[in-house]
């Protein structure tokens, strides 16, 4: 077997050195009733690469790739073009097959790119300090609420109706089992929600999303003031990180914690994962941050170097008193993010954001001409909500039958709520083209 270097001769010699007659002797602590005779039944034997590739091509053939159809789905995961360089860098064995940098002398590559990544995250979000990434935006949002609870010593979180329903679900699950309250607002379809009146002296945090799940772009400066007056923290979630190239960042609005989904940069859609969570906060809350942190220092020769730091917050030292149980970051996904963002640079990142907004604007204008379609957004970045004259889910199915991936019916993520049944969420990134928009418009006209 190609992954196993030991030959039968090797195995014999090794057993002799150990002083065992067979490898079964090494498993003698396994209770006899639990010993499997031969191998596990009901599973096929080993295969060569050709067969394995065929099997996966068979899986792939049963899917419709976004590359093969007009594509307008967003809802927390965005189709962007990732430059070819990114994949070649992350595929280098020294990055792909290395581990957490616990021995910093021989992992400066990882540590330095994470330090650069942390810096980039602070710049994008307008915040003071950031960690070396979380699993994704949704788990990062839950960790932000837990952090706010720790900092304020309160346990009531206010969750905006504009937060992505999956993110809301993750926070609610944490609330249910980890013992705090999460009060959730009605879906904020119009983008007019006002949470200020709901803040009181028991509120630990308010969690909003910008642009919201429905696409609205809002200014949270007043909300931030109201939070701080009550001793609560403002958490702002950003599910489309490219929007930070064009929209005022949460740090400049007074956010205390910013959580982003970084997938849009460097990481393809991947059917939902692995993604990369960005987590940033103010310097005064630094020691309350979950996840890994990379810090600058010097080595024994006085040269600048980087290390994992403030690890005493983490589970391997604090155990039951840790700030979180998290042990990994998003590693290679963070590398992909930082390489892509470095390729873009200031000029490229801003231009990418402008392109996204322009494409969405174009799409919005085209849809304005479709009878029955009502645009609900005064503001948006690259995604907006339209109201159709009939339920959106069957419309999307009908479009799919025409090989058009025409957005997300909101009812998929907010089921059992008749008020959103006719809503369709549409995104247009720099990958959308006029050639692609035309079939969507025509398809909608036909189906509606």
């Amino acid at each position: 077997m190609r992954y196993l270097p030991l030959t039968d001769v090797d195995r014999r010699d090794m057993l002799a050195r150990i002083g065992a007659k067979s490898v079964d002797e090494l498993f003698r602590d396994v209770p006899p009733s639990a010993r499997l005779g031969a191998k596990v039944a009901g599973l096929p034997d080993h295969q060569g690469e050709l067969e394995v590739e065929r099997a996966f091509q068979a899986f792939a053939a049963k899917n419709v790739s976004p590359a093969a159809a007009p594509f307008f789905i967003g809802a927390g995961a965005y189709r962007h073009h990732v430059p070819a360089t990114v994949d070649y860098m992350i595929q280098r064995g020294e990055f792909l097959t290395s581990y957490t940098p616990y021995q910093p002398e021989i992992t400066q590559g990882t540590l330095q790119y994470l330090f650069e990544f942390q810096t980039q995250v602070t710049l994008l979000t307008g915040m003071e300090v950031a960690n070396a990434s979380m699993y994704d935006g949704s788990t990062g949002a839950a960790e932000a609420v837990l952090m706010a609870n720790r900092v304020t010593r309160r346990h009531k979180a206010l969750i905006s109706g504009g937060l992505h329903p999956h993110y809301r679900g993750v926070i609610q699950t944490a609330a249910r089992w980890e013992g705090f309250d999460a009060k959730v607002g009605k879906p904020d379809v119009e983008g007019l929600e006002d949470l200020i009146a709901s803040i009181d002296k028991e509120t630990s945090c308010v969690v909003v999303q910008n642009p919201s799940f429905f696409g609205h772009v809002r200014d949270f400066a007043k909300l931030a003031e109201a939070c701080h007056a009550a001793g609560a923290l403002l958490i702002v979630v950003v599910t489309e990180v490219v929007s930070l190239g064009l929209i005022k960042p949460p740090g400049e609005m007074g956010a205390d914690i910013v959580v982003c989904e970084g997938q849009s940069i460097g990481n393809g859609l991947g059917f939902g994962g692995p993604y990369v969570g960005l987590f940033a906060t103010r310097e005064k809350y630094m020691r309350q941050m979950p996840g890994r942190l990379v810090g600058e220092t010097v080595d024994a020769d006085g040269k600048r170097g980087f290390v994992l730091t403030l690890s005493t917050r983490e589970q391997h030292i604090r155990r039951e008193k840790a700030t979180s149980n998290i042990c990994t970051n998003a590693g290679l996904c963070a590398l992909a993010f930082t390489v892509h963002l470095t390729l873009l640079g200031e000029a490229g990142f801003r231009r990418l954001a402008e392109l996204n907004h322009a494409k969405a604007s174009q799409l919005a204008d085209l849809l304005a001409a479709v009878p029955g379609v009502t645009m609900l957004n005064q503001s948006f970045f690259n995604e907006f909500t339209v109201r159709l004259p009939k339920p959106a889910a069957p419309v999307v199915e009908a479009l799919a039958a025409k090989r058009i991936l025409g957005g997300l019916p909101v009812s998929r993520l907010i089921p059992d709520d008749p008020s959103v049944a006719n809503l369709l969420l549409l995104a247009a990134t720099e990958t959308a083209t006029e050639v692609g928009m035309a079939p969507l418009v025509a398809g909608l006209k036909e189906v509606l």
Binding site: Y3, L4, L6, M14, R17, I18, R28, D29, V30, P31, S33, A34, V40, F56, A61, V64, T85, E94, S98, P101, P104, E105, I106, Y113, P165, H166, Q172, T173, W177, G179, L246, L269, F271, G273, M286, L293, D299, A300, G302, R304, T309, Q315, H316, R318, E320, N325, N329, L332, C333, L344, G345, E346, G348, H357, A358, S361, Q362, Q378, L413, P415
Partner: protein
Amino acid sequence: MVQSLDRSQGRAGGISVGSSDAPTFTGNKALQIEEPLIFEMGQPGRCAVDLPEPPKVKDRLNGLRRAGEVGLPGLSEPQVVQHYTRLSQKNYAIDMGVYPLGSCTMKHNPRINEKVARLAGIGDLHPLQPISTVQGALELIDSLAHWLKTLTGMPAVAMSPAAGAHGEMCGMMAIAAALEAKGERAKRRIVLAPESAHGTNPATAAALGFTVKPIPANERGRVDLAALKSALGPEVAAIMLTNPNTCGLFESEIIEISKAVHEAGAYFYCDGANFNAIVGRVRPGDLGVDCMHINLHKTFSTPHGGGGPGAGPVVLSAALAPYAPYPWIVKQGDAWTVAEDGAKVDGKPLGRLKAFHGQMGMFTRALAYIMSHGADGLKQAAEDAVLSANYVMAALKDVMTPAFEGPCMHEALFDDSFLKDTGVSTLDFAKAMIDEGYHPMTMYFPLVVHGAMLIEPTESQAKEDLDLFIAAMRSLTERAKSGTAAEDFKAAPRYSPRRRLDETLAARKPILRWRPSNSPPGGDPMRQAAE
């Protein structure tokens, strides 16, 4: 540059030895390049991406257009490639050789996994496409689920946790949900875990409101069954055990343990980090486990990627299966569907742990690995892993000190008694291994063994490479025991891209990001070195 704190007490980072190397103009040493930060390399006007001019449109941003610069540096594509290539050359990796990091299972990461993960129609799917357009993706996930259930002998699996610790959270939440369904959540507040447990175990239990009580080990390094039985009672919700345990030993009384736990009305969470030792030979379901997370990035070869991403699906017993979190991937007739939040399923999902469906990229890679090995290959891999660890143990036990008697499983645990009175600590020994061209083994874990050294060779090393590793370890041991080498060890490593780093300074004066004021005037550390 960074201000140096007073280190007159000499605690920080070992001894600074004057470099005997001839200095170079650049500060570089042949292939080892001193690499600045991107912020020290950028120039306005440089960009590594060619994007078309955006058409002029009216802003629909609610007046919130970003003013001022983001502050990102501009680099060209060649510079970007050079920067990351040079950084990569400062990393040790599995691709370079023996990586004996105990409990991490640093096995070979096959490249076919990478290829299939990138296939069009797999790597580029949106998670919320209409279900009819992603039937192949759902079938793929279910195939992996089938393998995991069959290999573990468990009836159900929750696929969405993003990493091992996340899987622990899932399993313990399922236990909390099961207790709540029985009206026992308030009564059963205690979770038992050995002191040798990985720190995530008590951290997870505490986060869910449980009080963690330790279970002692016996002199054989295994759970003390009598002590466990007396600790069990009506207030105990669960035990959290790793099997094989963190000392690399199979819990021989595991069946009595699970029986006692179930009789006391509690649940058995198994940390599956060490599954590589037994996959294909033992099914955790046969041992009485109620839930077990599986680290796809350990046992099933998905790449460690410098610390992530991972995946931690959790196999569940019949008692816990109803509480698996959304989404559930369900077959309806010939077609697959995804049951999402609020959907009717045959159970009471505990909620949602993560947006979308799970770490699809890791599912693809793990499934490719599993199909490549097959049932016969997986069993052989486990046997080779255990054989290799025992071989290393047998070849070193006369000069180093094994923590426990008898055969180990897939990892060999030593303590630091063999270094007594040498002036060389476990840490010093590890740093000397770096100069020999090896990543050190896991140090100081598990906590129950003094100066622990946990060596896990995995099944991926050729015998010749193991022999060289063993010889190097023997040589280091001999030098340490000579009693005259302590200073040498404390000065290690010498040949790595950086010598020992001042972790005290990093923690006392945390600098967690670049700022313009961090850089020396002129911005280029290489130029500074030359001046």
